[in-house]
Symmetry: C2
Subunit: 343 residues, 2 copies
DNA sequence: GTGAAAGCGCTAACAG
DNA sequence: CTGTTAGCGCTTTCAC
């Protein structure tokens, strides 16, 4: 059961009676090498089953052609869509991906960042966890001039680039729509207001209320982890309210659905008694009855744009210091869950 | 904008007037090093922002402590659950993960395998794409004695280990249940019969039919990619059948739901006209109305078991040649979509 | 066109 | 307990 010996450029050089330098050049398809020698080298490499040693190479050239990606969770429709977008761009540009999830924990996020850093990724793409408070674990990257780009869950006012949607406006439009449908007591279910996406949505919601002279009530803000279960719990809270609210804006579809299911079970009619609007345009929004009104979220594009941007940084197309914020277009998709007016 | 120089053990050794060997030992927390020197070294390392160079280390020790994972898709509930399980075990054992998706393409799967191989993963965990025909891209691993473990989408009769459920039995139970509920014309929607999971389910379905003296009809086998859209298309096919079938066994919940939605829209009553059973116990099975009967699939456990097994191989706990097949328990969860008998 | 040689940062004998 | 030293496999000057 002896491990087969790895083939190196030395083996090839030996057998061909040439120097390793020539082999190295030939393998990189350096035009300076004689065509015939090159051919011989390629053939022998193939025959011997040679594979380049990344470590030796990286050790030498100090690059890895690898991009790190840290997401809060892998198992959401939105995130997997984003990753597909990232992968598309990265692959076509010859970059590999290391993907890791923080499971919404600042602790795990820090660890992942450290792993990425030690793996010497050329750049980092990240969407923050719920409970990340400080960005100190990214300082190591900026110190080394390793570009970091945030997407979706970003932090404003710092020295990295951001890719996101206009959450405030999206929530504003969603809330306005509910008000137009006659809602006056609108609950907002969301996650930790530490994160830009949730603060922004909250602000958009408040702005819509204010513009329509509706007072915001503290008890109408329900904060959880936006899981299906959190939706169920929120439903319990809502059912205890007196009077019952007549509209619910939820910061993600999944949670909205958990909430709707519970309310339906309790005999609440949607949208007649309570209207619903979610976020993300998750496919499940078309499964629930009634179909869920939601904000269409350009996940795939967000992934592509973030990756493209990062790679531009790496190629020096952009200066590393030109940080910016890229805002992608989102839109309200109106479905049955919020249509209370006679059609 | 000069890149800060990387700190190496040489820098630490220089400043402390000791040898690099001692620094190297101290950093590994080798008990042989004097406690005081160790302390000094740790402090200076911290202060200087030293980070170990993985490449130099890997180049030297010929291991990476990294496990490769290739899945057909990241964006399914099942797969993300499996990955969570893998991650749990891998992290606690000090392994890193490189995750990649084949997008159900044999071509991309080959490329991913090559990347993994060149990244010198210590071991590989893989679930095959729909259209993978040959396993030649894994030979490079076995040649180098790099353990490869298949999960869920496996290939029988080869020299690697497998982790899966008893698909044949699961489909048998599901079909039997429908027959007991009075179904006699049962359609089976599935994916490419190249993959074990789908052949096995098909065979379980056939066995249940045979045992109950129901003839299998070719036209009752609908093959697609098991997406929501494939479900919609299958619904069209079903609606054209005369007489209409009275039961549908679908190889995944997502596709089942696409099909149910279309049929409902066409006025078909579920389960009265047509009963449904899916596979996976995806959360969406509890959103659809009526709730979907399904096979509960131990994704998290599957990930844990596969990773644990791989790591045992790596630690030499198991001989690399002791390949085996681990079968996890699954069960039928009966919900409204298949209950046709008076309750 | 090709080769010699230095060195990327680290680990692990071996010697003291 | 500490130091010396020889590579791991590769890229890249600098010669020729």
């Amino acid at each position: 059961m002896s491990k087969e010996k790895e083939v190196t450029i030395y083996d090839i050089a030996d057998k061909l009676n040439i120097s390793i330098a020539t082999v190295s050049r030939a393998l990189k398809d350096d035009p300076v090498v004689n065509k015939k020698t090159k051919k011989k080298i390629f053939e022998l490499a193939e025959e011997l089953g040679y594979r380049s040693n990344h470590f030796a190479r990286n050790l030498r050239i100090q690059r890895t052609d690898t991009i790190g990606v840290i997401v809060p969770r892998l198992n959401s429709y939105f995130m997997s869509t984003v990753i597909a977008g990232i992968e598309n761009v990265a692959n076509s540009e010859g970059y590999n991906l290391i993907i890791s999830q923080s499971s919404e924990s600042a602790e795990k996020e820090k660890m992942s960042a450290k792993t990425m850093f030690n793996s010497r990724v050329d750049g980092l793409l990240i969407s923050l966890s719920y409970d990340t408070n400080d960005l100190s674990h990214f300082e190591q990257f900026s110190k080394r001039k390793i570009p970091v780009i945030f997407f979706d869950r970003c932090e404003e006012n710092h020295s990295f680039s951001n890719v996101l949607i206009d959450n405030k406006n999206a929530a504003y439009e969603a809330t306005k729509h509910m008000i137009e449908q006659g809602c006056k007591k609108i609950v907002h279910i969301t996650a930790s207001l530490k994160r830009n996406v949730y603060v922004d949505r909250f602000n958009g919601y408040r702005r819509a209320l204010a513009e329509n002279n509706i007072d915001f009530k503290d008890e109408y803000l329900i904060i959880g982890n936006l899981s299906l279960e959190a939706g169920t719990e929120a439903a319990d809270t809502i059912l205890k309210m007196d009077p019952l609210p007549d509209g619910v804006l939820v910061a993600n579809d999944n949670c909205a659905i958990g909430c709707m299911l519970s309310l339906k079970q309790a005999g609440i009619r949607i949208p007649e008694d309570i209207a619903f609007v979610g976020f993300n345009n998750d496919p499940v929004s078309k499964v629930i009855e009634p179909n869920l009104t939601t904000i269409n979220y350009p996940g795939y594009e967000m992934g592509e744009v973030a990756a493209r941007n990062l790679i531009n940084h790496l190629n020096g197309t952009h200066s590393i210091h030109s940080t910016n914020t890229i805002v992608l277009r989102s839109e309200l998709i109106i479905r049955a869950s919020s249509q209370r007016l006679s059609k």
